[in-house]
């Protein structure tokens, strides 16, 4: 540690940091614009000026930029010194010359970094009477609003978009006082991470277009710590609610998982919550004369209980997008033998194999921010930008690990982004991508291999064998020796090598080959360490569901086919979407009774006897386990209208009525989580994921809404002149109110992220233990899976027999493949239409051309898809979009082309 002096007082500081970071960390106010903890320093905006003195006797000093000055031993600086303070005041005055001052109509107003900094720097009066330069703003698509007139040219948008996220279509146009941040022409921003511009922009140039449709200011939102439900990565989110509906989702900082950012599926998927398809009351879809009939809570629960008591064999279909609690309740209800997963056999096998590999072997699954620090990456099969976007963003940073370390060895401090970029230029990697089709990470890859999933598994195994001869040989590795050796060497010499795979190739062999590859590195390395191993699982709770155990949906369908099922309880799943309308209808016909619990209406629900309205992620409490094996808690953001409640509460009520006594003990969210933790050793640490409901600060709970929350007394005035009592929350340390402890809570249950003088997302520095470090008091969540270590046995990589048929290969779409987010209008507008993607040579040999329509069939499901030619696609594969409307998931995993008629 170094000793530095700030305005005459000495402090201990980390000399590898810059003074701006140190000053903010110490709790001082110092305005800045272009610096961001994830982007580093470029010294462009000149706003963080301070005065630095040569020694104790130097009283004049010189002005330096805090963000560009290291916290070196003996540094003496002043924030308050007149020369720096005056410069800061003139810099902001100059930046504000053309700013429209339209705060009252600006969506950023009230959480605007520019507002905060203007006040902080003391620019309180506009002297300029010059005309303001104006721009025509662009239509950037359904998710992001653009108002260029508010821009202060800090360049943070393009630095994030181009350099951090790898986008190409947002640029700084023009020069001098006519800089324009935009696209060549109007059109949706192409990056899956564009929504972060809303938070990266210090003012209102980029705003959330979805929020604008139901706008609420930050101080009028109720929020709670939550977890994104739209893929397996488990990013932390702050959803905001008012008047009983979500208004927006913002990234919630997590020091180990998502850091500051979110992908657009996660940011904008929330609007499914207010979709027309929401189920809000219990229903009997096939009531009198097949007319849907609304049921009272009592009637609905009684009907379900009656089904439970009158049926001989009841099975449950658990859901990879439902919480541990709801799945656990269902598993207890139907028994381990009767518990199935709403997942195709391929997806189910991939998830189980991934979990087994993480538990049995020596490789650790890294958190996202650990992935960022890996310095050699091999991706087997997965198109991460589409299936787990934030993991792709982490790999984009990992690709800079080696080039950055080269720069740092030249003496460039790690925070000096301008110098680092100058040194790095276009150097990236090593990153090796083996995939069936082009991906958006190709641009940073050292080498890209296009292969069928089968050949990817074989190649992974061949590289593993090059590292450790103990790895069993496989017939049919179709990879050249030099390529194999190049990758093997990269994994051997790297500090922190990483192997990545996922369920997106529908191949258990790829999952297992990835494990073998990661494990085999330990044999070749001097330090005997195995590479880290990251899997991208498709759903928010794929890992959690796999830890509970259960068989795939296909086996439930087979059991019904054999007449062994009398009733099915289907949790938060649309079986039509997975198995196809034909098989789903058949299944629901074969089981005498079906109960569906879900938030959204779908064809499966329409065929059930009873449909129960389940709380969404924002309306209930529960735990999810992400692909890393980290259990994270979702806390209810708001209390939904009666009778919506968490699925497990519905199940509990029916079970109690039907005489399942154990359900009595599930008195609250924590009680059932504890029961799950007791029953499943793998989940033992589940209750440690968050602070418990009895946590108090100064005897009080923590408010979900800021103390400036307005209009509570009037919100329901049209229903009753008496203000209703706020709903109680017995399940968490939070209150559905703006009234709560005046003491600042630990970061893991902070809701408002506001500090005096800091209203924008930049207030975060006040809530971190150190800049870029964990939240104060520790990040939430708990890792459930740690590697077993040596000895281990290599996993069996079973390759399918070579076949002349094209291998069906899912094409995952960040926008469209996940069923809940696909209901959000903004996401739906960006989702692809159904297609069948072929290599032109395969198409030619089948006599197919662009736009020809082909039938695809699998397991009783079928679809007609129009052909799209992609020269970059591996020959021998047929790309079938995953999870789109009208394409059952089974087809993407197992579809067979019906040609020639």
């Amino acid at each position: 540690m170094a000793t530095i002096w700030i305005d005459g007082v000495s402090y201990e500081a980390d000399p590898s940091r810059n003074l701006l970071a140190v000053i903010l960390e110490l709790g001082f106010d110092l305005p800045y614009f272009c610096w961001h903890p994830a982007l580093g320093s470029i010294g462009a905006c000149r706003q963080c000026a301070i005065t630095q003195f040569r020694g104790e006797d130097d009283h004049q000093g010189q002005v330096v930029m805090a963000c560009m000055t290291p916290a070196a031993e003996g540094a003496r600086v002043s924030i308050d010194h007149a020369s720096a303070a005056t410069l800061r005041k003139s810099v902001i005055e100059w930046l504000m010359v053309s700013h429209p001052h339209d705060c009252p109509v600006c969506d950023e107003g009230g959480e605007c970094h520019l507002q905060d900094m203007t006040v902080m720097a003391g620019h309180t009066y506009r002297r300029s009477r010059l005309p303001k330069r104006t721009y025509i703003s662009q239509d950037l698509g359904p998710l992001i609003g653009h108002e260029m007139n508010r821009c202060i040219q800090c360049y943070r948008c393009v630095r994030f978009y181009r350099e951090y996220a790898g986008g190409h279509d947002l640029q700084a146009m023009g020069t001098r006082d006519r800089i324009y941040f935009g696209r060549y022409q109007d059109g949706p921003l192409e990056s899956e991470f564009a929504g972060n511009l809303v938070e990266i922009c210090p003012t209102g140039v980029f705003t959330d277009k979805t929020q604008a449709r139901h706008y609420t200011r930050k101080w009028d939102l109720q929020t709670a710590p939550s977890i994104c439900t739209h893929c397996g990565v488990g990013c932390n989110i702050n959803p905001g609610e008012r008047y009983g509906a979500l208004r927006r989702v913002r990234a919630r900082y997590h020091g180990a998982v998502n850091g500051y950012f979110l992908c657009d599926r996660g940011r904008y998927g929330y609007e499914f919550e207010s979709s027309d398809r929401r189920i809000r009351v219990p229903l009997a879809p096939r009531g009198e004369q097949n007319q849907a009939e609304e049921l009272s809570v009592q009637a609905a629960v009684t009907r379900v209980a009656k089904i439970l008591t009158s049926s001989r064999r009841v099975i449950g279909v658990g859901s990879p997008r439902a919480t541990i609690e709801s799945n656990y309740a269902l598993q207890r209800l139907v028994g381990a033998d009767g518990f199935f997963h709403a997942a195709c056999a391929e997806e189910h096998r991939s998830s189980l194999a991934a979990l087994d590999a993480l538990r049995e072997g020596p490789s650790r699954s890294p958190a996202l921010r650990e992935i960022e620090r890996c310095d050699a990456v091999v991706v087997l099969g997965e198109d991460l930008t589409q299936s787990a976007p934030m993991m792709a963003l982490a790999i984009r940073q990992a690709a800079l690990a080696i080039p950055r370390s080269v720069a740092e060895r030249q003496g460039i401090p790690p925070w000096h982004d301008a110098a680092i970029r100058e040194s790095v230029q276009s150097a990236r990697g090593p990153v090796f991508l083996l995939s069936p089709a082009p991906t958006k990470l190709d641009d940073l890859a050292t080498r890209v291999y296009r292969k069928t999933p089968r050949a990817i598994a074989a190649a992974g195994q061949a590289i593993a064998r090059a590292l450790d001869p103990q790895v069993p040989a496989l017939a049919g590795d179709e990879m050249d020796r030099a390529g194999i050796e190049e990758i093997a060497r990269a994994l051997t010499v790297a500090e922190r090598p990483l192997v990545v795979a996922g369920s997106g190739t529908a191949s258990e062999a790829v999952i297992n080959a990835a494990a073998n590859l990661a494990w085999a590195t330990s044999a070749a390395r001097e330090d005997d360490r195995a590479a880290e191993l990251a899997y991208a699982l498709p759903w928010a709770n794929s890992a959690g569901l796999s830890l509970l155990g259960g068989a795939p949906l296909d086996e439930a369908l087979a059991a019904a086919e054999r007449g062994e099922v009398d009733a099915a309880i289907i949790l938060e799943s649309d079986l039509d979407r997975i198995a196809g309308p034909g098989p789903a209808e058949r299944f629901l016909g074969q089981v005498r009774h079906a109960v569906v619990l879900d938030h959204i209406a779908h064809p499966t629900a329409a065929r059930a006897d009873v449909v129960l309205p389940a709380a969404t992620f924002a309306e209930g409490h529960g735990h999810l386990v992400n692909s890393e094996g980290r259990a994270q808690r979702q806390m209810a953001v708001f209390s939904p209208d009666e009778p919506i409640r968490e699925s497990w509460r519905w199940l509990r009520e029916a079970m109690m009525l039907a005489g399942y006594d154990e359900a009595d003990s599930w008195t609250g969210a924590e009680a059932i989580a504890e029961a799950a933790a007791r029953d499943h050793p793998a989940l033992a640490r589940l209750p440690d994921a968050q602070l418990s409901a009895d946590f108090r600060l100064g005897g009080a709970k923590v408010a979900r809404a800021p103390h400036r929350y307005s209009g509570r007394a009037a919100a329901k005035l049209h229903l009753n002149v008496l203000e209703p009592t706020p709903p109680r929350d017995n399940d968490s340390p939070l209150e559905f109110s703006m009234e709560g402890s005046p003491v600042l809570p630990p970061g893991k249950i902070e809701t408002t992220f506001w500090a005096p003088g800091w209203s924008s997302p930049q207030a975060l520095t006040r809530f971190q233990e150190e800049i870029d470090g964990p939240l104060r008091g520790g990040d939430p969540g708990v890792r459930l899976i740690e590697p077993a270590g040596e000895p281990f046995a290599y996993r069996d990589v079973a390759l399918s027999a070579p076949s002349p048929e094209l291998a069906p290969t899912p094409v995952v779409a960040a926008f469209g493949s996940e069923e809940l987010s696909a209901l959000a209008p903004g996401i739906a507008a960006l989702a692809p239409r159904a297609f069948l993607e072929l290599n032109p040579r395969d198409a030619a040999s089948l006599g197919l051309a662009d736009d020809d329509v082909v039938s695809v069939r699998a397991r009783g499901a079928s679809a007609r898809l129009s052909v799209r030619l992609e020269p970059g696609r591996a020959q021998g594969t047929a790309g079938i979009p995953l999870g789109l409307e009208d394409i059952p998931v089974a087809l993407s995993f197992a579809g067979e082309l019906i040609t020639g008629s």
Binding site: H168, D169, Q171, M173, G174, T175, R183, Y184
Partner: protein, 156 residues
């Protein structure tokens, strides 16, 4: 004429050959196209972007940065009038006025006969010859307002 001509391609290729990668040739490629076509229209920008494997957004960022890369039509001859402080002190405002009067077109416009476009330029680096202006590749100065129409006559 959207696609690049073979002459344009040859000149761009010659630049790429001496640079580390194709994208480094983007400024020279735009200058090449401008030499052949006077200015860079949207189609030409698209053709260059495709040729260099850049996005149009990236190339436009470059094209719009340099004020001697023209993204709007110009006349056969471009008149650059020095707009810096030395020339201003030495009376360039009268020269600019005389130029607009002689051309019958404002700065940035193309004269009706397609002959000239006048543009303010900061700066020509010819303070010793201010007020200065440049027509095509020729530097002129000091220029008096009365000289302007005679000067223009030399550029048919």
């Amino acid at each position: 004429m959207a696609a690049l001509s073979s002459a344009e391609r040859a000149e761009i290729d010659a630049e790429i050959a001496i640079l580390p990668d194709a994208r480094s040739a983007s400024i020279e490629a735009l200058k090449t196209v401008q030499r052949h076509r006077r200015w860079i229209d949207d189609d030409a920008l698209g053709a260059v972007a495709e040729y260099l494997d850049l996005s149009k957004h990236e190339l436009e960022a470059i094209a719009s940065f340099y004020n001697l890369l023209f993204r709007k039509p110009v006349g056969r001859h471009v008149v650059l009038v020095c707009d810096s402080v030395s020339c201003w002190i030495l009376g360039n405002e009268a020269v600019k006025q005389a130029l607009e009067d002689s051309l019958g077109a404002a700065f940035g416009e193309v004269t009706r006969d397609d002959r000239f476009t006048a543009l303010p330029m900061q700066c020509l680096g010819a303070c010793d010859r201010g007020p200065a202006l440049m027509i095509d590749e020729d530097l002129h100065g000091p220029v008096q307002p009365a000289d302007v129409s005679e000067l223009l006559r030399r550029y048919p």
